[in-house]
């Protein structure tokens, strides 16, 4: 974890296969999707929040792509949960892509599947 907390942004983008979904490239704030980095942990939580902030009021359905995700912790999941919940409270939706391998097991452990709108929660 020590190495992760110290990893530089440059290194992060090398590790995560795609930092942004293709549609997002070069179009800040005007986008409807976000690809999560390989590492989504406390150390990266600030930048994750910044990225999500750009999407919170997006009128279109927002897609979160977790296919590159390898490590996630409670801090990141908590952010995502608040994001999804607030979108929903505002009557907007969030869709998931590639959430099954890393995100879902973690969310299930924390009892967060429903809050995140993931399958595997209470249906």
């Amino acid at each position: 974890m020590k190495s992760r907390t110290r990893s530089t942004p440059a290194r992060k983008s090398r590790r995560g296969r795609a930092t942004r979904a293709p549609g997002n490239r070069g179009a800040p704030a005007k986008s409807d999707s976000l690809a999560l980095n390989a590492d989504c942990t406390l150390a990266e939580a600030d930048s994750l929040k910044a990225a999500l902030t750009g999407l919170i009021d997006e009128p279109r359905a927002v897609t979160l792509d977790a296919s590159a995700l390898q490590r996630i912790d409670t801090a990141a999941l908590q952010l995502l949960a608040a994001f999804v919940r607030d979108r929903r409270l505002g009557g907007r939706t969030v869709e998931w892509r590639g959430a099954d391998h890393a995100l879902e097991p973690a969310a299930r452990l924390l009892g967060m599947s429903d809050l995140l709108g993931l399958p595997g929660g209470l249906r």
């Binding site: 150390a43 608040a82 994001f83 452990l109 009892g111 599947s113 429903d114």
Partner: protein
């Protein structure tokens, strides 16, 4: 905000090493075939907490290894595997490997990966063999089992886990903890997200969530607590057993209903009264809320802080001595009161000094505890039966002394086992029990501590020692030596009677090194031996290295301190008692021996008050088994002096072990008698 976890590393390493020590001790107590459950739990807890800690800090090699170990221990705990000699050996080896890994990580050195993976493989093989017949508990990380409907286990643990905000910033991750719980048994998780603020107001490093967890009642409470061990003080934790497996609680893995967003703001409605009264829930056995400080009764303080305190107390002692001296010069009624006050101050100072010294004291069990393992391994390797007896383990001594006494003791114990204790058949033939006894004992004697290593083996072999000494040319072919003189021989450099160099003895570290180490601590070592009945080595050490009882002596205008421990007696000589031998300088007759006289003023180049023997005094001092007469002008008084290192502040000087500051503010040098004898004899020879 980035959390630098490295600040917690020291504590982690320190705790882990201690934990490994206790794990080793528990392993050694483990009875093959009929293991004590509590001991296995202790061992399991250690592995588990090291695993958790190393995972937190990202020491993945250690975490992975301890995971395998833990799986094996879990098998032992559940009775799926029996404790055999092979398993016990495997576990002891694991302790060594974990220790080595922790040391490597601590020193930022590479881990010996081959050794680790070999042993890990062995562990896994051992587990796999047993698993062929015994079903393993659910273990796979990341696949807990929510919402499957609770099995009808009578009694379940209800765990209320409410992290404080800073929990995550302190390096704890609830996800990791819940994953560990899920590895113990089927875990039901219910999230309480009612405190989760609107997205825009979230501070990403703060934890705004809380959980109610349920786990089957057959999981030991200790194992659950262990998971939360690192979070202690950073969360509110209630663990309670609910007697009835109430139907309401069962299959609700998650609280909120996605269909009705406002429900988020409500405490979970139906099941089991969770949010409101965490402490009163749980029918059968409510547990106290764990929080704040962890173990009461002791705190961890860095050695530097204590040394600083010790140093300040040392300065205070000097100031007090100075005031004391001034006080004697004050006259009149105020003088009386001043002196009464000063006497009080002196008493308090002594108490303070003793208290601070006690802080640095640790029980010698810290050193003794490594012996059971060592003796067991050695006995196995040498095919001997050894019983180790430890007494006086609670005897306390200074940490510095403690650290340096370990190696000499190891050497002595090794010697006892290798050379002292005979093979079982030899012992039975001699009418002794087949198992030899090695006894380690520590006691306080006056201002000193004495540590004894004794055995009931064959004793020192006079004949072999003499033969060896003759072959080495250390003594003449026809020299007749007393027992004491023969015992002295074993302390000579390069002397070892081991016929072949084994990896047990004879690694070039001989008794001479043992004696030197003990000397460096200001102590001495003595031998007693009875042929056929065993030998006894006694090490006498000062309780502390920071303060010495000294006799101050005057030479000209200078004051020197002679450590009391090296003084035999002080006397006035008549000029006629001293004779000058050609080539050997001055000697005088002392109890049948001729003792050389060292004229201190000549040695140190000081202008003396007198150079006539009968006008001054001779202090007979002993060092390295030799006696000398130190010729000084006068004796001044006895006092405890605080040693200030010369080497640290100036440089090493032969014959001087340190310096101290006297009551009048002047500096006095503390004499190192053995060194002084060396210097003097070199001068005499030159």
């Amino acid at each position: 905000m980035t959390v630098d976890l490295t600040q917690f590393h020291d504590a982690f390493f320190e705790e882990s090493f201690e934990a490994l020590d206790s794990m080793e001790a528990a392993l050694l107590k483990l009875d093959i075939g009929a293991p004590d459950r509590e001991l296995i739990n202790t061992i399991f807890r250690v592995a588990h907490s090291i695993k958790g800690g190393s995972a937190t800090f990202g020491f993945s090699d250690i975490a992975s290894f301890t995971h395998s170990l833990e799986t094996l221990l879990d098998e032992l705990r559940s009775g799926g595997m029996a404790v055999t000699v092979a398993v016990s050996d495997l576990l002891l080896k694991s302790v060594d490997v974990m220790r080595a890994m922790l040391r490597a990580v601590q020193a930022k050195q590479p881990i010996d990966a081959q050794r680790v993976s070999d042993l890990q493989f062995d562990l896994e093989v051992a587990i796999a063999r047993k698993n062929e017949t015994v079903a393993s508990p659910p273990a796979q990380a990341g696949t807990p089992a929510p919402a499957q409907g609770a099995p009808a286990v009578p009694g379940r643990w209800q765990i209320r886990f409410r992290p404080f905000r800073e929990l995550m910033a302190r390096g704890n991750d609830p996800l990791r903890m819940l994953r560990e719980l899920a590895e113990l048994a089927e875990l039901h998780v219910r999230l309480d997200a009612q405190d989760l603020p609107p997205f825009a107001h979230i501070s990403p490093q703060d934890c705004h969530l809380a959980w109610t967890l349920e786990i089957p009642g057959d999981v030991p409470e200790e194992a659950i607590r262990q998971v939360f061990e690192w979070a202690e003080g950073d969360c509110e934790l209630t663990i309670a057993r609910s007697g009835v497996d109430d139907d309401a609680v069962t299959p609700v893995p998650s609280a909120e209903s996605p269909a009705s967003p406002p429900a988020v703001a409500e405490p979970v409605a139906a099941p089991a009264t969770v949010t409101a009264h965490p402490r009163s829930e749980g029918a059968a056995k409510p547990e106290a809320t764990v929080s704040a400080l962890g173990d009461s009764g002791s705190i961890r303080v860095s050695v530097e802080k204590i040394d600083e305190l010790m140093n300040t107390v040392g300065e205070l002692v000097i100031t007090q001595a100075m005031l004391g001296q001034l006080g004697t010069q004050v006259e009149g009624p105020h003088g009386e009161r001043l002196r009464a006050g000063l006497a009080q101050l002196e008493r308090n100072m002594r108490e303070l000094q003793e208290s601070v010294m006690r802080v640095r004291m640790l029980p010698i069990s810290f050193v003794f505890s490594r012996f059971p393992r060592m003796v067991r391994d050695l006995a196995q390797r040498l095919g001997k039966q050894i019983e180790l007896k430890l007494t006086g383990e609670q005897t306390e001594l200074d940490k510095t002394v403690l650290e340096k006494i370990g190696d000499p003791l190891v050497h002595l114990v090794r010697n006892s086992i290798d050379h002292g204790i005979e093979a079982p058949d030899v012992r039975t033939a001699a009418g002794k029990p087949a198992a030899g006894t090695v006894h380690l004992d520590a006691t306080h004697r006056g201002g000193n501590i004495s540590v004894e290593v004794s055995d009931d083996g064959g004793g020192l072999d006079r004949g072999r020692i003499l033969a060896k000494a003759r072959s080495r040319g250390l003594i003449g072919a026809n020299d007749q030596l007393s027992d004491a003189e023969i015992h002295e021989l074993i302390f000579l450099p390069g002397f070892s009677t081991a016929e072949k160099t084994t990896d047990v003895s004879g690694r070039g570290v001989g008794m001479d090194v043992v004696r030197r180490n003990v000397k460096e601590l200001g102590g001495k070592i003595e031998v007693a031996s009875e042929s056929g009945h065993g030998s006894r080595f006694t090490i006498t050490l000062p309780l502390t290295l920071a303060i010495v009882d000294g006799q101050s002596v005057a030479v000209g205008t200078e004051t020197y301190i002679v450590p009391l421990i090296s003084i035999v007696e002080s006397m006035q000589l008549k000029t006629s008692q001293a004779t000058r031998l050609s080539g050997q300088g001055e000697v005088f007759s002392f109890r049948g021996d001729y003792v050389p006289i060292i004229r201190m003023h000549e040695l140190f180049g000081v202008e003396p008050r007198t150079s006539a023997l009968h006008e001054g005094l001779v202090v007979v001092a002993e060092g390295d088994g030799r006696r000398v007469g130190l010729f000084v002008d006068d004796l001044l008084g006895q006092q405890q002096v605080v040693i200030k290192s010369l080497e640290a502040n100036y440089g090493h000087i032969d014959g001087i072990s340190g310096a101290t500051i006297l009551g009048d503010g002047s500096v006095a040098l503390i004499l190192d008698v053995p060194g002084l004898i060396r210097v003097a004899s070199m001068r005499a020879a030159a």
